[in-house]
Amino acid sequence: MIEFKSVRKKYGRKKVLQDVSFTAQKGNITCLIGINGVGKSTVLKAIMGLTPIDGGSILIDGMPVGKHIYEHVAYIPDHISMPPNMTVGASMQFMKDFYASWNEARAEEMLTFFKLKRSDRISELSKGNTAKLNLLHGLSLDVEYVLMDEPFSGIDAFSREQITEVFTSKLVEDRGVIITTHEINDIEHLIDEVVLLDNGFVKSQFNCEDMRMQEGKSVMDVMREVYIG
């Protein structure tokens, strides 16, 4: 379980996270929803220790953030983070060199599924292929949690479909997944939990199926209530 307890964070004078508490369970796809600039990415970065927090605490299976989490949590940012002159193959080798949790067989499988070529340079990949390689780097790690920042934004429809397919496959099964998004439409049926962020606060956290079952409301309905009503 990933736990956020009253996390606060400001950039300069801007309070990005004022009081953020939520939990993300293993085996669930938890979706952080909020308009852009609301602090969704900051939440993910804070879990990974990529940006210090000003208050509160973050626990991953009861442990604080530190170097030991990097074999247990994978973060897929909204951009690839490998030097542009590296080739696809070299970037995979890099991951293999550093991570004990790297699963080469799975990486190969995804390479084939995404039709990526090892010899291609990262700088020469299309937007969609870059996103796919980025996904490959993160999902080929045998980790308990995967964090994805806006995996669907700014890519073509076909790549989008392929990536959706990844979500419904064994690649995310049994893991705890946190994804951020500002548009819910495409993935409404994919996610288990929703955390609505607004102005640095968590407005609501709920289970999608429970919400439909008990109140007959779609995620969009709840969002409308929270943000407009």
Binding site: I29, T168, H189, E209, M213, S218
Partner: protein, 138 residues
């Protein structure tokens, strides 16, 4: 014929629990005969991929279907549609009753005479079946 092939077209509404919609979809497939009794159905993982839903939801749907006796899973072998005739006929009547009840509820407000109503229903349903048959051929 596999259940998954048509299922790709399944459109979910976002206000009912997805897993119940999956269960309902299977019931429809059984009632129309697209899924035969005793037929092997796709694994949870396959169905999740085909319907573009999360594997947890697929799992929940299968569990629900098992509880309702719709499918049976023995040990490690793949799940099959039940061969229990009683359950199968129950599904059929359940679907029909559900649909008719919903219809009756809304039509009751207009108080249409039964004969007139039946005639309209007859022609509408016939037209709809014909259309469906043509679409299937095309």
């Amino acid at each position: 014929m596999h259940a998954g092939e048509d299922s790709a077209e399944l459109k979910f509404n976002s206000r009912d629990p997805v897993y119940l919609q999956v269960v309902r979809h299977f019931k429809e497939e059984i009632v129309t005969g697209r899924l035969q009794k005793g037929q092997v159905i796709p694994s949870r993982r396959e169905i999740a991929g085909k319907l573009k839903i999360n594997p947890n939801t697929a799992q929940k749907a299968y569990k629900e279907m098992e509880e309702q006796g719709l499918i049976v899973t023995e040990g490690n072998s793949p799940s099959r549609i039940t061969t229990d005739e009683q359950v199968l006929s129950l599904i059929r009547s359940e679907l029909i009753t559900d649909a008719v009840e919903a219809f009756v509820q809304s039509i009751a407000k207009i108080q249409v005479p039964v004969d007139e109503l039946l005639a309209i229903v007859k022609s509408k349903v016939e037209r709809s079946y014909k259309q469906a048959a043509e679409e299937e051929q095309a």
